[in-house]
Symmetry: C2
Subunit: 205 residues, 2 copies
């Protein structure tokens, strides 16, 4: 795997090896064709470890989702000295990646399949409710800082954050489930929205 995401590049220890195997198997098979056995194909240690620790593929996948949420959060530079608009752009670029390698595309597709499990499985629903809340809080924090820094207009941070979160989640859905290239346009329009809705000294488009 030449193209491992940042959170798996320095994996060490059994748990991280399991997470890496899960990532690779998800990219290869997607959710519906995934089995613990197929995750085992990407795991160098004893397969019985997997069967011993996880009741079924969903228990393993829920742990995987929590793992990548934690890793994503740790990876965000907590640089309060950076301007709020720059911090916001870094987050949106990460969430809204529109130039993905084939493997990354497969991973986004699998993530959309996992998110769809939340439509009928309360454990997934609880995870995505929580993970959206984490991202929402992060965006609210940046918007509040931008208002304090006098860079952003006096908007309601919760409201603007909810909208930005919804847009980025949806861009992922769009990318994973259709062949249309609407994602680039979406990102451009988010920039315009930020410029006119948030920035105090916005330039005309």
């Amino acid at each position: 795997m030449a193209d491992l995401p940042f959170f798996l590049r320095e994996s060490s220890g059994t748990q991280e090896e399991i997470m890496k195997a899960t990532y690779c198997a998800l990219c290869e098979y997607g959710y519906s064709e995934l089995t613990i056995q197929r995750i085992g194909e990407h795991f160098d240690k004893s397969k019985s470890l997997l069967y011993h620790h996880y009741e079924n593929k969903d228990s393993l996948l829920l742990e995987f989702l929590q793992f990548i949420l934690d890793e994503f959060q740790h990876s965000i530079p907590d640089n309060k000295e950076q301007r709020a608009d720059e911090r916001l752009n870094i987050i949106l670029d990460r969430l809204h990646a529109d130039t993905l390698s084939e493997e990354q595309q497969n991973f986004v597709r699998a993530m959309v399949e996992l998110r769809a499990q939340a439509a009928h499985d309360d454990r997934y629903r609880s995870h995505f409710t929580h993970s959206d809340q984490q991202f929402h809080a992060l965006l609210v924090d940046i918007i509040q800082d931008g208002i304090k820094e006098n860079i952003f207009q006096r908007v309601e941070p919760e409201r603007v954050a909810a909208f930005l979160l919804t847009c980025t989640n949806s861009a992922m859905l769009q990318h994973a489930t259709s062949d249309n290239d609407y994602i680039t346009h979406s990102r451009e329009e988010i920039d315009i929205y930020i410029n006119t809705r948030l920035m105090k000294n916005s330039s005309p488009q």
Copy 2:
């Protein structure tokens, strides 16, 4: 079913009865637990008709998706005499429903599960690529009219339409897969975006 959607209220004929049974079974079981047998439980005529016409549940569901796309499109009033901003609002309100009955919520959840099939199944991918293109074209048409009517600013219609489509798809995803109420805020921010980005004489927020 006291709460059938508009496109099934006056169902008559075998095909429409099948579509109605599919709708009811989808609301009751969601995608993953759905079987042709369970659709048959909601179908008054001979169950063998279902097995005869459809190879598996996915063939039936793909026909169902095409059916509701057609019905949705026919239901949109083609009233070119109405102002473009009013026409836009009607479409966005329909797609962005934020007060749903329990049955409608179940249907939205099932639709998200169906959309997620597009992550690994080319038949679903082809359907949602096509259906997004239909909605995109509809939005482009309204935005172009608004520019001609001198109500909207001279934006790139394709770009703004792509963004609006992403926003509305996203409302559905959020609603179906988390317990957070971000959808109301999102709709408010879409209105602000339309007001500042599209409308020529926008009022200050």
